[in-house]
Amino acid sequence: MTSFHFGSRQRRLFGYYEPALANSSRVRAVLLCHPIDNEQVFAYRTMRQLAARLVRVGFHVLRFDYFGTGDSYGDTGEGDFASWCEDIETAIEELKDISGATTVNLAGLRLGANLSARVAAHRPKEISKLILWEPLAAEELSASGFGCPAPQTDRNPRLIGSDIVEGFARGALPSKAALLPPSTLVLLTTKPPSPTEFGSLAVEYVADASAWIEERLDTGSIPTGTLQRIVDWLQ
């Protein structure tokens, strides 16, 4: 495993790469796309566990932080949706370069799901499979701070009004289905979707812990059922 910085000199990103531990007839790779803010902090253990499970069955895995988040360079207020999508594209190239894969799978959690969907729609030939785990609704995307009152965050105000709010929020995903990879799965863990909510997109509900929320009673618990479903579906 390797922790490192990558990307341009102006936009250094932190990444954590784990090579496949199991042999596979072809090179398979997964890029994990985090949520942001404290959702990223709370979900970090879960994403690490997901990576560990994926490498055990033969995937090369890269986790990374968007610019202005986590351990990547940049102040917290410097990030915005469009540039974070560019970060995902940079990470895809990095993962392909390290692993030798020609295509990659994307798995995004919360905001990471919305961003992954947008990138996948722009690079359909390079994305084998796409998992959208609990993508954010438009009203959540528009909020200036997830879980925090606006005055208590140093979030970039430019986030509000981004085209991603309109285009790749949870409610808009069915209209984008044709742009997404044929193998796209929407995965929900908090409550089942309404029957028509995601149109032709495949959607599954797994009742499980919300990895991105810190609850006193289950802090640090890992949604193992969800992780196993992701691993099984990607294989």
Binding site: S3, R12, R45, G70, D71, Y73, Q152, G220
Partner: protein, 313 residues
């Protein structure tokens, strides 16, 4: 990109299983003592809540300090140790390995530990035992309840209907605590005294503070007074809780009345950062203060870099 720092991802420790981020001053800045080591808050990884530690580390590095944020074994990206140490022992061993790495790679022999909540307790447990530790910044460390705390706590809860219902129905912490104290006061036998654990923790913490002061560690303690959640409720609770320790004269104490436990408010985080930066830059260094240049330090620390801008395991 014009920044006053650079960062390096590091694998270190007994089997290179621990992961940390070293934040270094830019090469034109002289390196100032002390170095700073920032510890995990509970199970949150090394960035801290609201990315608080990333921002603090970069601000300190821009002033000339080396800063190391790392994950204890089993937290964040660090792998569990796989030995038979209990969690407290494992944290102490991890911290020793972090300071060993800083000493051998960066020539650091004087460091301040910063920790919040559980991180503060780990810093307090470890600091007195290692001569390389020169100071502690303890953010919301555990402080045992006092009589005045109970008065504040009850006063704050008394208007809440739910608390009344819990009290009347015999549930809740306050009911249990008051019942226990009543039993003790009237000499009734308490088969499982609630206060036994409190006494043990209080005594243990008292000893740790005494050892820290005996070693002449510089100590900054920051307490938050946000929403009532059973921690401290007033500034002097620290002194009242440990009457046998001369903390009043020997530590710097700040009380952030409006801040919650993880400093959710950006304004309170900014206040905290300003306080910590001021305290560390004013830190009295006991050793040769002659600075070493950033580039010299880098050469000593890293020699040949790996092909990628990081470290491999």
């Amino acid at each position: 990109m014009t920044v006053g720092f650079s960062e390096l991802a590091v694998h270190f420790g007994r089997s290179a299983s621990l992961v940390g981020i070293l934040t270094r001053p830019s090469s034109e800045l002289p390196i100032r003592r002390p170095a700073v080591v920032i510890l995990n808050t509970g199970i949150a990884h090394r960035t801290g809540h609201h990315r608080m530690y990333v921002k603090m580390a970069r601000a300190l590095a821009s002033l000339g300090h080396l800063v190391f944020r790392f994950d204890f074994s089993g937290i964040g990206d660090s792998v569990s140790r796989g030995d038979d140490l209990n969690p407290i022992e494992a944290h102490q061993a991890d911290l020793a390995e972090a300071l060993d790495w800083l000493a051998t790679s960066c020539d650091v022999n004087e460091a301040v530990l910063i920790g919040l909540c559980a991180g503060a307790e780990i810093a307090l447990r470890y600091g007195h035992s290692d001569k390389r530790v020169a100071g502690l910044v303890l953010l919301d460390p555990t402080i045992p309840p006092t009589a005045r705390f109970y008065a504040h706590y009850i006063g704050g809860r008394i208007t809440q209907l739910r608390s009344w219902w819990s009290f009347v129905s015999g549930r809740g912490r306050i009911f249990e605590e008051l019942s226990e104290r009543a039993r003790m006061a009237f000499g009734a036998a308490a088969p499982q005294p609630v206060s036994a654990a409190d006494h043990r923790i209080r005594n243990e913490l008292e000893q740790l503070y005494l050892k820290s002061l005996d070693r002449n560690l510089k100590v900054l303690i920051v307490l938050t007074g946000g929403p009532l959640d059973g921690r401290q409720s007033y500034r002097e609770q620290l002194f009242d809780a440990f009457p046998n320790v001369p903390l009043r004269d020997r530590v710097s104490l700040e009380y952030f009345r409006e801040a919650d436990h993880t400093f959710t408010s950006e304004r309170e985080r900014a206040r905290l950062q300003e306080l910590v930066l001021g305290w560390i830059t004013a830190f009295p260094t006991s050793r040769d203060p002659s600075p070493i240049s950033g580039s010299d330090a880098e050469r000593k620390a890293f020699g040949e870099r790996p092909g990628r801008d990081g470290a491999s395991l």
